[in-house]
């Protein structure tokens, strides 16, 4: 009997002890898989420098939006920018961290990276299920010199809610009226055909594993895995190779500071060298954060990343934000994010 009582007391003690650490002091973020490679690299470097660990879980932009709205994480990450009215309603501020591009990737025997060329309408038709085989006339027209097999096209898309999907479907909506009316743009859509895979990682993996597959991934994933990416014909009619340069060309015309919430979408941009499926990725933070200390630490991390993370980003073919935008972002932090006493959380 005594032993039982002791056991119970011990359990109660164990339960009560670490409850002091109930208070959230670790920085946690969740969301987009689009920037996951660079966020993970930054977090690793930041930890080496400052010993502060930033735990980022790539559960999809939809997940990031939901978790920050439920206040279960310090910051959310999304590739789909939320419109200003939604930001107002939930008391969030939004700012971009890097830019990148969505790249269609294929798995066809003998096709090397950059060998295949597609344009917007054809890509839309493939994803609508109208073009079912690789040797279809439309694809052949764009690729007269490429040997295309008579195999069925295995379409791969995202199964989870994703900003990568948003950028991709936004582009398809712009270049195909049928796509726009039938499916539309969003983080999660009703795909007419194809397999779903989880995360950019899942799509990359599934495309690699399935012969005759086509998928869309953030460029870092295509590059890191030496996948056969597709060259796209942009608005100016030129076939462009995805690269930091072509993403930057797409971003050249963007008006960051003029758009509320920096909510700029970089699809189907004009310019000879512009990559047509580009986009930025965003961070969402509460104006009145539940844990001011953690938010301050998170902002410090992003500030560090803007200062020192540019080179790491470029190595993975992301495009860092221009300096004037960073300055405007810092100003937004100072003015908008306040703790319970009204004091600004971010200090230079």
């Amino acid at each position: 009997m005594k032993k039982a009582l002791l056991g119970i007391l011990a359990m109660a003690a164990i339960a009560a002890g670490p409850s002091a650490s109930f208070a959230q002091s670790a920085i946690s973020g969740a969301g987009a898989t689009f920037p996951y490679p660079i966020y993970a690299k930054w977090a690793d470097a930041y930890k080496k420098q400052t010993n502060i660990g930033l735990n980022y879980q790539s559960i999809g932009s939809g997940g990031g939006i939901k978790q920050i709205k439920s206040k279960t994480v310090t910051f959310g990450a999304s590739d789909m920018p939320l419109p200003a009215d939604e930001l107002e309603k939930d008391g969030l501020i939004q700012f971009p961290t890097v830019m990148g591009g969505d790249v269609p990737v294929v798995n066809l025997p003998g096709i090397k990276p950059g060998e295949l060329v597609l344009d917007g309408p054809t890509l839309a038709d493939i994803y609508l299920g109208k073009i079912k085989k690789w040797d279809d006339a439309a694809i052949k027209k764009l690729n007269p010199d490429v040997k295309l097999p008579s195999a069925a096209i295995a379409v791969v898309h995202r199964s989870d809610g994703s900003g990568t999907t948003f950028i991709f479907t936004d582009y398809l909506s712009k270049v195909s009226a049928e796509w726009k009316s039938k499916v539309g743009a969003g983080t999660s859509v009703r795909w007419p055909t194809g397999l779903g895979a989880k995360g950019n990682e899942g799509v990359a993996n599934q495309t690699k594993q399935t012969q005759g597959a086509i998928g869309y991934v953030e460029y870092a994933y295509a590059k890191q895995n030496q996948m056969a990416f597709v060259r796209m014909i942009n608005k100016a009619g030129k076939a462009v190779t995805p690269s930091a340069a072509s993403f930057m060309a797409a971003a050249a015309n963007a008006d960051w500071t003029g758009t509320p919430g920096y909510a700029v979408v970089l699809t189907d941009e004009p310019g000879d060298a512009s990559w047509p499926i580009a986009g930025a990725t965003f961070i969402l933070i509460h104006k009145k954060p539940a844990d001011a200390a953690a938010t301050a630490a998170a902002l410090k991390f992003f500030s560090w990343a803007y200062e020192n993370g540019g080179k790491m980003a470029e190595e993975l073919d992301y495009v860092p934000m221009p300096a004037n935008v960073v300055a405007a972002i810092r100003k937004t932090w100072q003015e908008s994010i306040k703790d319970d006493s009204g004091k600004s959380v971010y200090t230079q």
Partner: protein
């Protein structure tokens, strides 16, 4: 002054005190275990109640038709459970169609045909399969089984049935490797050890005398199994099948890897689909909006109900069968 009487009194008082203390401890322990039982009950009921509560927004909007609509549009916030339900039922059915005959076959082998020395090791080997965590089957399915099926099996089957009317749509391409058939196959592998172990255990309860009597009048092994063993163990086999079915219906991780995650009700076995648990696992962390989240919880409730019905039917059948005379 009677020292003997005093001592006797003291002893009685001492015993009374001890008894009182012991009685208190006894009451305490009784109450303690009672509270534990109550806590367990409340917890379990709480899960069900929380599920129902979470599903209410979705059910309010879509009414009970929710469970029978084929629609999953997160953008327009229009949901229906038919596609996940279909996937759950079909993959479980495929799993049982494969696992039950094979499981009974293995049990027959182990009890009647196998050399005695090998019986224990093989039996243990099959049971080890039951202990392997489901996520292992998921990655094995994704990295080993699916590519194998995609390159070697599926194109052959698609080509073979191409011109036959009904079967051609059942085995239609493109060969993804993953999909409903692969998920069903993986589930079959996971369910097999349960069916086998339980069937073998109940086979072993058949009185040797009855079997020997049958052998004695000249029955073949198969005839003994068919006419003596299986009728005797009908209940047990059914129990094992139901247990396996329950597992197949609720399995999440193994299926999520290989089902293809497409909200569609296709006719082809090789096409992608989704199950209730795979849908929840894939989409829950990112469901934005009350209706989306509520729809997912409603799916969870549906799965709970389906599993419950299967269990209840199993119990009912078992009760009814065990009441039949002659068993």
């Amino acid at each position: 002054m009677n020292p003997a009487a005093d001592r006797s009194l003291a002893r009685h008082e001492g015993i009374a005190l001890t008894q009182k203390r012991v009685f208190t401890v006894d009451r305490l322990f009784h109450v303690f275990t009672y509270l534990s039982a109550l806590a367990a009950l409340l917890l379990l009921v709480g899960v069900i109640v929380a599920l129902i509560e979470g599903s209410l927004p979705a059910l309010a909007k879509f009414k009970f038709g929710f469970f029978f609509r084929d629609m999953w549009d997160p953008v327009k916030e229009d949901f229906g459970a038919l596609a996940p339900l279909f996937g759950t039922l079909v993959t479980a059915a495929i799993a049982m169609i494969i696992a039950v005959p094979v499981g009974i076959g293995i049990a027959i082998f182990l009890t009647e045909l196998c050399p005695r020395a090998l019986r224990r090791p093989i039996g243990i080997a099959i049971e080890l399969l039951a202990g392997v965590p489901s996520i292992i089957f998921g990655i094995w399915g994704l990295f080993v089984l699916a590519p194998f099926l995609q390159k070697n099996v599926q194109p052959a089957l698609i080509g073979a049935f191409e011109n036959i009317p009904v079967l051609s749509s059942l085995f239609a391409g493109p060969p993804y490797g993953i999909g409903i058939a692969t998920a069903g196959l993986i589930l079959a592998i996971m369910v097999l050890p349960f069916v086998t172990a339980i069937t073998r255990d109940v086979f072993q309860t058949v009185p040797a005398m009855q079997k020997e009597a049958a052998y004695g009048v000249g029955c073949t092994t198969w005839e003994v199994v068919r006419h003596i063993v299986i009728p005797h163990t009908r209940i047990g086999i059914l129990g094992g099948v139901m247990l396996g079915l329950g597992r197949a219906l609720g399995e999440t991780m193994a299926v999520t890897f290989v089902i293809g995650n497409a909200h569609e009700i296709g006719t082809s076995l090789f096409g992608p689909g989704t199950t209730i648990s795979a849908t929840i696992a894939s989409e829950f962390t990112e469901a934005v909006g009350d209706l989306y989240t509520s729809s997912l919880i409603a799916l969870g409730l549906l799965l709970f109900i389906v599993t419950f019905i299967v269990l209840a039917c199993a119990r009912l059948l078992l009760m009814r069968l065990s009441q039949r005379p002659g068993l």
